[in-house]
């Protein structure tokens, strides 16, 4: 468990992080979501020890992070950082060796990763000669090449085409499944929605919401329900405690005053005909995001 507690960070007078606390659980993908300038990159840099916080602690399994621990992190900075003129495999080997790998082990790791990420044929090309998407894959390989214990990725999906996103999602999911905490930031909320187990939302340097994706959706679900039946749903409008938002033949979208009223609607609907679907309407991540940052 990677845990941030009460992190403050100011640049001069400007406070960029204010009492930031959240957890990244092992084996789970944690999405870190926020607008531009919300403090995502600063938080990640503090996690990595690249920046120092003014206050607060970062712990891994209950003990404060040491530089030694951080060396076992895999990190992908927001603005992509690799040597443009160095060959792809060569720089992966270099980075792995900086983390203490022997040349032999570093080469093996780099080779495997490049194959996985579809860059096997480009391993001996200079990074700058690759397309942006392929440079991005190389960047992800750079974060993973030293078999990190923890992954921290700043916007790993920006600039990737859908196929590349799938490849990267596969690699990251497999990594998390191995029992490691993974924190990644993104402003592509649809990808975050698909990928993350847990979610942290930051705005203006403060954590606005955090928790598992389902519990957040639950918490922000409200009282809106969706009903799909074989029969007409016109009768709904007459019921007390129900206000219909939208309806069209057998489809109805309605707000219920309480759960009992909603359940009563389901029971009644069954008497009118077969019910294909009845469900509380879960908000999308984009909706939750808009709601909490206001």
């Amino acid at each position: 468990m990677l845990e941030l507690s009460h992190i403050d960070k100011s640049y001069g007078e400007r406070k960029v992080l204010d009492d930031v606390s959240f957890q990244v659980a092992p084996g789970r993908m944690t999405g870190f979501v926020g607008g531009n300038g919300a403090g995502k990159t600063t938080t990640m840099r503090i996690l990595l020890g690249v920046l120092a916080a003014n206050a607060g602690t970062v712990t891994l399994d209950g003990t404060p992070l040491t530089p030694e621990d951080r060396r076992r992190f895999g990190y992908m900075p927001e603005e992509r950082g690799l040597y443009p003129k160095m060959r792809v495999e060569e720089q992966l080997v270099y980075l792995a060796r900086l983390h203490g790998f022997t040349t032999h082990a570093a080469k093996r790791n780099a080779g495997e990763l490049l194959e996985r990420l579809g860059l096997g044929e480009r391993r001996n090309d200079a990074l700058e000669s690759l397309s942006l998407g392929n440079q991005q894959r190389a960047q992800i390989a750079a974060a993973l090449v030293h078999d990190p214990d923890v992954l921290v990725l700043d916007e790993p999906f920006s600039g990737l085409d859908p196929m590349a996103v799938d490849v990267v999602v596969g690699v990251l999911s497999e990594f998390a499944a191995g029992g490691s905490p993974v924190l990644f930031s993104s402003h592509q909320l649809d990808i975050v929605e698909r990928l993350c187990d847990d979610l942290v939302i930051i705005a203006g340097g403060r954590i606005r919401a955090s928790g598992s994706r389902e519990s957040l959706r639950e918490a922000h679900a409200g009282n809106r329900y969706e009903l799909l039946t074989a029969a007409d749903t016109g009768w709904l409008r007459e019921r007390a405690g129900i206000s219909v938002v939208d309806f069209d033949g057998g489809y109805a979208l309605f707000d219920a005053d309480d759960a009992q009223a909603a359940q009563a609607v389901l029971r009644e609907a069954l008497t009118h005909g077969d019910v294909t679907s009845f469900a509380p309407l879960r908000p999308t991540l984009a909706q939750i995001f808009k709601e909490v940052i206001q």
Binding site: D69, R70, Y75, P77, G81, L82, Y83, H99, G100, D149
Partner: protein, 383 residues
């Protein structure tokens, strides 16, 4: 080297896999290795080194050629009887005796001798005439001329060694200037490249910043040192092959000192260049922070060219850390430095280098993550 698995505070099972982190020395070595490898792969570097070596080789060969021309072969002359005996005696001529003027003229015409000396046909005060084939050689006439006795009261101020001193000074100055600017600029560029591409963030999360800086300085110093050694070796071999052993004997000690001074002086400059590079975020802006350092290197270069015969300036230069690498070897070549002077100067240089490295690494550490415009020096020096 501390490894996590040996550390008692690590909870069990916290670590999944992976080797221990490299030690500081290993990290520095890895960074230095990359610097050297990438530099040796750069065509610009290889070509500029080649040109520098060629220029020096050319200088030695031309110098050797000129030296030969003035000092070597004895001129062949024919002498009729004992004409001009007072002028020829004690000088290095290859003298052929001719029976009469006609025989002497025949020798000149056939090219066996360059000139012939015969009794004068008019009332010339020397009493001799010099017979040439088609053109008179002024050199030869000068050699034959009688000169008054010359007494020099202050032989040290003699300008006859001036040209050689100039060449030697220029040599040290040029080599220092070219090597220091080339490798200094490449350090600054390498720092900015890492900053600009943000690879520095990944590096900083892997190894300590001081290892990164030290590795860079070390790598480029090895290259600069290698280049200087190549130049020194080339000079020694070149001077030996072209037979300029006398010059070599005089240059030997100064060259050794030059190499020693250069190593320390370069480390000082390297730390400055790295700090200067870290202040900017883009390659295009490098000039704005490295120009003052380039100036510092140019001052000794020009000073040594203009003031190499001015003992006061040279003495000062031989102690100022930035110019000692040029000033002290020149003074040693002239022989105006006491045995302890290079040691004292080296000590001053070492202390300055240590201070500059401290300040430089502070600027470097504080500026690496500050992107955008140029980082103010005051800001970089603050904690």
């Amino acid at each position: 080297m501390t490894t996590a698995t040996e550390s008692p505070i690590q909870p069990a099972g916290r670590r999944r896999s992976g080797p221990a982190s490299p030690s500081l020395v290993q990290s520095i070595g890895l960074v230095a290795e990359r610097e050297v490898k990438m530099r040796l792969r750069s065509k610009t570097f290889l070509i500029s080194t080649g040109i520098l070596l060629l220029v020096i080789l050319a200088g030695i060969v031309v110098g050797g050629f000129l030296a030969k021309n003035t000092a070597s072969e004895t001129t062949k002359i024919a002498v009729v009887g004992n004409a001009g005996a007072g002028l020829v005696d004690g000088k290095t001529f290859d003298v052929t005796e001719a029976a009469d003027v006609a025989a002497a003229e025949a020798l000149v015409k056939s090219g066996d001798v360059e000139a012939a000396i015969a009794p004068a046909t008019d009332d010339n005060p020397t009493g001799v005439q010099v017979i040439f084939d088609s053109e008179a050689s002024n050199t030869l006439i000068m050699q034959l001329s009688a000169q008054p006795q010359v007494t020099i009261l202050d032989p040290d101020a003699d300008g006859s060694a001036g040209f050689l001193l100039y060449i030697v000074s220029l040599g040290f100055g040029l080599v220092f200037f070219v090597s220091a600017t080339t490798f200094g600029a490449s350090i600054a560029q390498s720092v900015v490249e890492e900053k600009q591409t943000r690879v520095v963030e990944i590096l900083m999360s892997a190894i300590p910043v001081k290892a990164l800086l030290a590795g860079k300085v070390l790598g480029n110093s090895i290259l600069a040192f290698g280049q200087i050694l190549a130049i020194a070796a080339l000079s020694v071999i070149g001077l030996t092959v072209t037979g300029q052993t006398e010059l070599l004997a005089g240059l030997g000690t100064p060259v050794v000192w030059f190499v020693v001074f250069f190593v320390l002086g370069f480390i000082l400059l390297a730390a400055l260049f790295a700090a200067a590079g870290s202040l900017v975020s883009r390659q295009e802006d490098i000039g704005s922070t490295t120009t003052p350092i380039t100036m510092l290197i140019m001052i000794p270069y020009f000073a040594v060219i203009f003031f190499n015969d001015n003992p006061v300036v040279m003495t000062i230069m031989s102690y100022v850390p930035f110019s000692a690498a040029v000033g002290m070897p020149v003074r040693l070549f002239v022989g105006s430095a006491q045995w302890w002077e290079p040691i004292l100067s080296l000590l001053i240089l070492a202390i300055t280098a240590a201070l500059v490295i401290l300040v430089g690494s502070r600027i470097y550490e504080n500026s690496l993550l500050k992107m955008g415009g140029r980082v103010k020096l005051s800001e970089a020096l603050k904690a």
